[in-house]
C-alpha cells in the first residue's frame, strides 16, 4: 500500500502546491474529512476553512474558500477559488472575507429565497469561526 499520494492545490491564478502527502484534512461542505492514500474516489465542495496537509517533509496549512476537492485513491486535487498559505494570512485578509460574506448575507435577507439566507448566514459564521480559530 502506498503511504503517500500526489497532492495538488490550485487556485485560478496560480498553482500553490504540488507534493507527496500522507494525509490531508479537507474542510468539506458537509464537515471536515481527512483523505489518506487509497481513499475512496470522492468529490466534495469546500466550505471556507483551513486545509491541513501532512507530508513527510512536514505539514503546511492553507486558508481556502470556495471550490471543490477531488479525491482519487492515489491523488488529491483541491481547486479553491481563493487559497492563501496560513502564514501569509493577516487580519485584513479575513476582514475582507467577512465583509464580503456579510454583504451577501444582507443581500440574501433582502431576497425571498430562505435557503440562500441560511447558506449566507452559515458562510458568515464559518468566516468568523475561522478568525477565532486562527486567533487573529
Amino acid at each position: 500500500m502506498a503511504n503517500t499520494m500526489q497532492f495538488d492545490l490550485v487556485s485560478p491564478e496560480r498553482s500553490l502546491a504540488s507534493l507527496e502527502a500522507t494525509a490531508v484534512q479537507i474542510p468539506g461542505a458537509d464537515g471536515d474529512m481527512t483523505a489518506m492514500p487509497d481513499h475512496a474516489p470522492t468529490i466534495t465542495t469546500l466550505r471556507p476553512g483551513i486545509l491541513k496537509v501532512e507530508a513527510p517533509e512536514g505539514s503546511s496549512e492553507y486558508l481556502v474558500t470556495g471550490g471543490f476537492a477531488q479525491i482519487n485513491g492515489d491523488a488529491l486535487s483541491v481547486l479553491a477559488e481563493k487559497a492563501i498559505p496560513v502564514a501569509e494570512v493577516t487580519r485584513s485578509h479575513l476582514d475582507d472575507l467577512i465583509t464580503e460574506a456579510r454583504e451577501s448575507h444582507e443581500a440574501a435577507k433582502a431576497g425571498e429565497d430562505q435557503s440562500i439566507v441560511d447558506d449566507a448566514a452559515k458562510l458568515l459564521a464559518d468566516m468568523e469561526a475561522l478568525g477565532t480559530h486562527m486567533s487573529l
Binding site: P12, R14, D30, A40, I43, T45, A75, E81
Partner: protein
C-alpha cells in the same frame, strides 16, 4: 522637389517615430512574458475544473432537475454576446479581428430572427462595434484601471452576467476573445458559456473516467454550486488569453512599424544626399560659367 531643410526635418521625425515604436515593442515583449506566465499558471485550474464538470454534466445533464445554467432556458431567442477586447490600440489587427467575428455573429443571429444583446469588455471593442450594433449594447465593463488582471475581475463580470441570466434577460451567452497561439498568431474565438458545454479534454489523469466517485453533498448540489464558478473560470481564462494575445499582437505590429520606419529613413537619406549633391553641382556650374564669361 522638397528642399534640404524639409527632408532633414522629415528624417528627424521618422527617426523619433522609430524610437517610440521600438520602445513599445520592447515594453510589449516584457509584458507578453508576464501575460503568458499568468495564462499558463491558470491553465491547470481550468483544465481540472472542466474535467470534473464534464463528468458531472454527463451524469446529471440528461435529467430535468439539472440546473438552468447547464440545461438552458429551453429556448434560444435572446443571445448575449460578451465581446472581450483590449483597452488600448496600436496592436495590429487584434481588436478588429475580435470585433469582426462578433459583428458577423450578430448579423447572423439577427438574420435568423433572434434578439441580440451585446456586453463589451474593453474600450476598443466597444468603439469598433458601436457603429454597426450600437443599439444592442446592454453594458460595458471598463478594465482600463486594472493594472494586473485578477480572478476577482472575472468574478465581477461573471456576477453581472449571472444576474442578467437570473433576470431572464437572455437565453444563450457567448464570449468572444482571442486565443493566444504564438506571437504572430492569435485566433479570434467564440465560446458558448451559458448553457455550459464542457468538452471532454484529454487530461493528465485520463484514467479518472473509469472511477466511480462519491459525491458530497450530492451531484446536483455540487453542480449547482460549481456552474456559476465555471462561468467565472471561462471568463478568466478568456481574459488571460486575451492579455497574452494583445501583447503578442502589439509586439509584432510594433516590430513591423520599426522596420518600416527604418526603410523610410534609408529612402529619405538617399533622397537627401542626392538633392544636396545636386545643389553643390549647381553651385559649381554657376561659378565655372561665371569665370568663363569673364
Amino acid at each position: 522637389m522638397p528642399n534640404l531643410k524639409d527632408l532633414k526635418n522629415r528624417i528627424e521625425s521618422v527617426k523619433s517615430t522609430r524610437k517610440i515604436t521600438k520602445a513599445m515593442q520592447m515594453v510589449a515583449a516584457a509584458k507578453l512574458r508576464r501575460a503568458q506566465e499568468s495564462a499558463e499558471a491558470s491553465r491547470p485550474y481550468a483544465e481540472r475544473f472542466n474535467a470534473v464538470m464534464a463528468g458531472l454534466a454527463a451524469s446529471v445533464g440528461g435529467s430535468d432537475s439539472a440546473p438552468k445554467l447547464l440545461r438552458g432556458t429551453g429556448s434560444d431567442d435572446v443571445h448575449l454576446l460578451v465581446v472581450m477586447t483590449a483597452e488600448r490600440g496600436l496592436c495590429g489587427g487584434f481588436n478588429s479581428n475580435i470585433a469582426k467575428l462578433a459583428r458577423a455573429k450578430a448579423y447572423e443571429l439577427k438574420a435568423q430572427g433572434k434578439t441580440v444583446k451585446i456586453l463589451t469588455v474593453g474600450k476598443k471593442g466597444r468603439d469598433a462595434i458601436k457603429r454597426d450594433h450600437g443599439d444592442l449594447f446592454v453594458g460595458h465593463v471598463d478594465l482600463s484601471e486594472v493594472k494586473r488582471l485578477g480572478y476577482t475581475n472575472a468574478q465581477d463580470i461573471a456576477k453581472d452576467i449571472l444576474s442578467r441570466f437570473d433576470g431572464a434577460e437572455f437565453d444563450v451567452a457567448t464570449i468572444f476573445y482571442s486565443k493566444f497561439v504564438n506571437v504572430v498568431t492569435q485566433i479570434p474565438t467564440a465560446q458558448q458559456i451559458i448553457p455550459a458545454s464542457f468538452e471532454e479534454t484529454e487530461d493528465a489523469q485520463g484514467d479518472d473516467s473509469g472511477a466511480v466517485f462519491d459525491y458530497e453533498p450530492s451531484e446536483e448540489a455540487i453542480l449547482a454550486d460549481l456552474l456559476p464558478k465555471g462561468v467565472a473560470t471561462a471568463i478568466f481564462s478568456g481574459l488571460l488569453e486575451n492579455g497574452a494575445s494583445e501583447q503578442g499582437a502589439r509586439m509584432s505590429a510594433m516590430d513591423n512599424a520599426t522596420r518600416n520606419a527604418g526603410e523610410m529613413i534609408d529612402k529619405l537619406t538617399i533622397q537627401f544626399n542626392r538633392s544636396r549633391q545636386a545643389v553643390i553641382t549647381n553651385e559649381l556650374i554657376e561659378i565655372i560659367s561665371g569665370a568663363e564669361a569673364l
